[in-house]
């Protein structure tokens, strides 16, 4: 995307911009993939990734100089709102939301030149290898080791809950390069091609009965030293910067809007808007989302001003994910017996699977740093409570 197009987008009237984005979705996004009940695999959503790539709309938040849309906070929100309301599915977007922004900030020139175009072109699809069976909330206790051997590391260990690892060809991961001293100071950030010999991916079936995440095993895997981002034993700092990106992503009203739009379709179809009690509960949730919008904008403005977002970003994640869950809980209650069925309720916008939505909204309070951990962070780092 050129600087010029970016300026043009940002200068557009909001409604005009909204209409443009909507039209593009209507014309290009496959009907049958609207409101997918599960996170789609590459064989389902890959074409859409490439369509966005061609359009230059894959990376709305990246700066124009790196091939992004460079949208300002307001346009970014509209962009997202239109997509979620239309039921546009999530692509395997870890390169877009995480690796790209991280490399833009912390990567070497060589790394930027190599990886960013390949993300934009859909050549590199990423997954995130942080968690291990013994290291979840306590991520710093991770054990997967990388031992230096000349210009390579030899990696051994076991990552788990790796979302869409089966679709990715690259993994960005945290490994232990030093077992002495403070746990956080012996961690390195590595970029690893998944076709490297010694890597095995084993899918895990999730609660929605879908193979959305996986375990990844590393058995004497050779990784070039050049694949380190930010320097040996500096991985924790890098990971923390990245978690900031992840949390602002999970904190965006995306999930809540999507859930709300499903609830609305269902409510229309079942006639719930005639019930004043339902309308009160619905409106309460709608305002929870509107007010999150207002808060999210404040945070995004900070980034646009070139500022840094600190631990306070945790509040966005908590509010978004818990609002999303409250929406799906109301959806399930309002669906009566359909709250206990796999299938869905027919609506103008396709099937709404209330039970599936309810289950699908469970993990957002677990991943990306659980909400309990986010509350700990807010208590200690923002409120500066003791302990």
């Amino acid at each position: 995307m050129t600087e010029e197009t970016t300026n043009q987008y940002n200068a557009m009237d909001d409604d005009e911009f909204r209409a443009m984005v909507h039209t593009f979705y209507v014309e290009n996004y496959p009907q049958e993939l609207r409101f997918s009940p599960h996170r789609m695999h590459w064989d389902e959503i890959g074409d859409w990734y490439l369509t966005l790539s061609k359009q230059g709309w894959l990376t709305p938040a990246w700066p124009a100089e790196y091939g992004g849309m460079g949208l300002d906070a307001n346009k970014l929100l509209i962009f997202m709102d239109v997509g979620e309301s239309y039921g546009v599915g999530r692509t395997p977007d870890m390169g877009i939301t995480m690796v790209g922004p991280l490399l833009i900030q912390h990567g070497s020139q060589q790394q930027k030149d190599h990886y960013l175009p390949k993300i934009l072109a859909g050549e590199y699809i990423w997954c995130q290898g942080y968690s291990e069976p013994g290291a979840g909330s306590d991520l710093a206790s991770l054990q997967t080791s990388a031992v230096r051997d000349g210009d390579h590391y030899v990696v051994n260990g076991h990552k788990t809950w790796t979302t869409l690892a089966m679709d990715a060809n690259m993994i960005f991961m945290l490994v232990r390069t030093n077992k002495e001293g403070k746990k956080q100071e012996g961690i390195t950030f590595l970029l690893v091609p998944l076709d490297t010999p010694g890597i095995t991916v084993r899918p895990i079936i999730n609660l929605g009965m879908h193979d959305e995440f996986a375990e990844v095993f590393f058995d004497d895997v050779k990784v070039p030293v050049a694949n380190v981002v930010g320097g040996e034993n500096k991985g924790w700092t890098i990971a923390k910067a990245l978690l900031g990106h992840e949390r602002i992503f999970i904190g965006s009203p995306k999930f809540a809007i999507l859930a709300m739009s499903r609830l609305k379709s269902m409510a229309k179809s079942v006639g719930l808007f005639d019930d004043p009690i339902f309308v009160e509960r619905y409106t309460r949730l709608q305002l929870d989302i509107e007010d999150l919008f207002a808060t999210y904008k404040r945070f995004v403005e900070v980034l646009k001003r070139g500022g840094n977002i600190g631990p306070e970003v945790s509040m966005l994640k908590i509010w978004n994910t818990e609002t999303q869950q409250r929406v799906t809980e109301l959806m399930m209650e309002a669906a009566s017996e359909h709250g206990g069925i796999q299938g869905g309720i027919e609506t103008e916008e396709g099937l709404v699977r209330a039970a599936g939505e309810f289950i699908g909204s469970r993990p957002s309070t677990i991943y990306g740093g659980s909400n309990e951990v986010q509350r700990n962070i807010l208590a200690k780092a923002v409120l500066r409570l003791p302990g």
């Binding site: 999730n206 609660l207 009566s336 069925i341 039970a355 677990i366 659980s370």
Partner: protein, 375 residues
Amino acid sequence: MEDISLQSRIDVLTEQQVLIQDSAVAFIAQDEELKKTRESRFVQPGYDQQTWQEMAELGWLGFLIPEQYGGIGLGFDDLHPVLIQLGKGLLPAPFVATAVVAASVLVNCDNEAIKKDRLPALVSGAWKPALAWQETQGQMSVEAEQLRIVDGKLSGKKAFVPDAGGADDFIVSAGGDKGTELYLVNKGATGLTIDYEQRIDGGFYARLSFDQVDVGELLAGTDRAEQVLESALDEGRVAASVELLGVMTRSLEITVDYLNQRVQFDKPIGSFQAIQHKTVDLFILSEISRSVVLQTIALLDGDASAHDRAVGASQVKARCGDAALQITKSAIQLHGGIGYTDEANIGLYLKKAMYLASWLGNATAHRARYAELTL
């Protein structure tokens, strides 16, 4: 697994209840890993026939059926320890739908010949009826509107019939000129088609379509049909609530166990105060539910009016439906990533709660009914 409920601390069980509880505990202990529960998921009939037969041998299917029809004639006070264990063990068997709801309709119906013939077969496990009363989503009234009787033939649809795959006959409510009647219709009757819908817990609901189906045997006429239905459904709501109590209790036990085992930051996660408070709140919810369950089964066993039973049934279903969902969904959260896998058993408890909480009226519907009955 350690029993963390207050039962052993503050409640008194009769000798008979203790015996029944012990045998139920031993029964579910045979499949502590929930292998059978998993095997029967999403495969017709959605439950395990052998388990059903074993329950018959233990006499459970006849608990609520009078001795003159081959049953044991006990009350909910003696049945409730069984129901709790069924919930704890996620037993793949349509106990409440068949041995409580359908059995209650038959026991209270007016067709003596059918009772003498079929109830002993229900008790022995040889015959299973399923009740088809519901027509629309969220329906609470027992009046049959959509399924009509015209010239001795049934036409129309029924929905949300649980566990119909293994049933032999359907008890069907149908509307005629003068009101609702109840019939026993053979599953193989001409003109009857059955579609199945997968439930979230791995069982099935059926949709029945009747096209000029012979009415079969009359069970209750317009004078009593609605009353018989209402009372059977209320018993079902209470029984489902007791099962939900078992579901929530075991999921809490599993969770407390996990909080003791799982170490992060060099400590068991159960040592974090945020976790402790959350878990204590869940515990309180489960005991509040237990209190309502105990109160309601006493009500059903006593001589309360139909109105008071309905109020009690709605009170207990509203509480247990909400509490079970709250506890099982929090159990997922407290387990972290492992909780969101199909592999871990804790998720099966959430799904059972989702089914039982939404069957026969969810908490919202029962609060509305409670208000209607009491305000």
